[in-house]
């Protein structure tokens, strides 16, 4: 099993998510794809993920709505938002909802890889911290 992050790509552009999955696989990152926010939530109930790449503009459930729901179900997952146009209001909303990063499409693969690594590190660090505090709490008892 790969020791890297488990990534979920959520985008309504089929070609985008499939090619990105192939490119991430070449870089040693295992990724799964979902075509909508609804599909992503279903996927989360089946599998555990470390990082989610989430498109902002999608029909039915927008990326912002999906982010809010994801953070409710699995707050530890780091979410990187991808969008076709930068907008301050959306960026603020993403930060408020606990999104990790906000990237503008087209984003070079190297940059995206760096962001995924950083998000994964953050998730591990958070996990380590919560593990430490749980151990500390245990030792106090």
């Amino acid at each position: 099993m790969s020791s890297g992050p488990r990534v979920l790509i959520v985008d309504d552009e089929e070609r985008f998510r499939n090619t990105l999955r192939k490119l991430l696989a070449v870089s040693g990152v295992a990724a799964t794809t979902a075509g909508s926010g609804e599909e992503a939530l279903q996927e989360l109930s089946k599998e555990g993920y470390d990082v989610i790449l989430l498109d902002v503009k999608m029909p039915d459930m927008s990326g912002i709505e999906a982010l809010a729901k994801i953070k409710k179900i699995a707050p530890a997952i780091e979410v990187i938002m991808l969008t076709g146009h930068a907008c301050v209001d959306v960026a603020v909303e993403i930060m408020k909802l606990g999104g990790y990063e906000y990237l503008l499409k087209p984003c070079p693969l190297d940059d995206l890889m760096l962001k995924i690594d950083a998000a994964y590190e953050r998730k591990l660090a958070r996990k380590g911290k919560s593990g430490q505090s749980a151990a500390a709490a245990k030792s106090i008892q």
């Binding site: 309504d12 552009e13 070609r15 985008f16 090619t19 990105l20 192939k22 490119l23 070449v26 503009k57 999608m58 029909p59 991808l82 969008t83 076709g84 146009h85 930068a86 907008c87 503008l104 499409k105 087209p106 984003c107 070079p108 693969l109």
Partner: protein
């Protein structure tokens, strides 16, 4: 800010008011025919002076209003440009992201090798096709935008609207029949010829018909009605039995880049182009809809081109 000219102007007013007041007092003091003549003269002078002053004031405020209107138009223009550019950015950046990724994938295929030669070749060809498709998608957006921006002068001709619509209906019907969408006609037989630009009107009708069929998807009816409207106009109504338009989308329906279609399926420019065309033809376009109950688009066109309209 008070300028030197304002102060001089105010002083002149006070000075004149004093002189007129003194003359009035003198006229009344005499209390005879001569005195009354002076009073009448003073009053006439005052009225003349006041009316000149009022005209000046109205002129100044009109000028001020003109400048404010210009500022308002300018700020509205800037807001529209902002909205438009964010729409363009979004619509172009998505295909660009795919192009970038496919190029990256092709680079990987050419560098790495590994898989079978024929398999690799197939993969390369597939990526290349994806790039071509995305370039076409960008081209479609930019061409529509150019059409949107280009103000072709309408060429006004006497037009049989029923015939023009029927031509477009026949065109759309060929596709619609496969989806079990029926197009019902309710044409007003006595509709007079209208003076309009036929190719531009054709573009609008085709767009509205296509949208109506798309909104239904499968199994439904599009009803096309023509009738004589109020104020010397011809009305075209296109009603569908589709999904309808949510209330929150009604105000955005004619905005450039507003679309409810999935990515890559619609540019969101169709209805805004229709709106632009109908406005240029001196008409009006509007919509009525409720979710789950379909939608009706109304196109109101003047029977005659009014003076000043292109």
């Amino acid at each position: 800010m008070t300028t030197r000219a304002d102060i001089q102007h105010r002083f002149l007013h006070q000075y004149l008011a004093c002189i007129l007041g003194v003359m009035l007092a003198v006229g009344l003091w005499f209390n005879d025919e001569y005195g009354y003549s002076v009073v009448a003269l003073v009053l006439a002078g005052t009225a003349l002076y006041s009316s000149r002053y009022l005209i000046q004031l109205v002129g100044a405020s009109n000028q001020q209003k003109f400048f404010l209107d210009q500022q308002l138009i300018q700020s509205q223009k800037l807001a529209s440009i902002g909205e438009l550019s964010s729409g363009i950015a979004h619509e172009i950046n998505n295909p660009l992201a795919i192009i970038g990724q496919e190029a990256e994938w092709m680079r990987h295929l050419l560098k790495e090798g590994g898989s079978e030669e024929s398999e690799r070749y197939e993969d390369l060809r597939d990526s290349l096709q994806a790039i071509v498709r995305q370039v076409d998608r960008c081209k479609d957006i930019t061409h529509k935008l150019l059409d949107f921006a280009r103000k072709k002068d309408p060429l006004i001709q006497a037009t049989d609207v029923n015939k023009l619509i029927e031509d477009m209906v026949k065109l759309v019907e060929k596709e619609a029949v496969h989806k079990n969408v029926i197009i019902a006609r309710k044409y007003e037989p006595d509709l007079p010829f209208i003076f309009t630009d036929p190719p531009l009107l054709r573009q609008v009708v085709l767009n509205l018909l296509n949208n109506a069929v798309y909104a239904i998807g499968h199994d439904g009816t599009v009803t096309v009605t023509t009738r004589v409207g109020q104020n010397d106009s011809a009305v075209v109504e296109i009603t569908d039995t589709g999904c309808g338009i949510p209330k929150q989308d009604m105000s955005k329906i004619f905005d450039p880049f507003f679309t409810t279609k999935p990515q890559g399926k619609g540019t969101g420019l169709g209805l805004s182009i229709c709106h632009g065309i109908i406005t240029r033809l001196g008409g009006r376009i509007s919509v009525e809809s409720a979710v789950g109950e379909g939608a009706t688009f109304f196109v109101d066109l003047p029977l005659k081109q009014r003076k000043g309209e292109e």
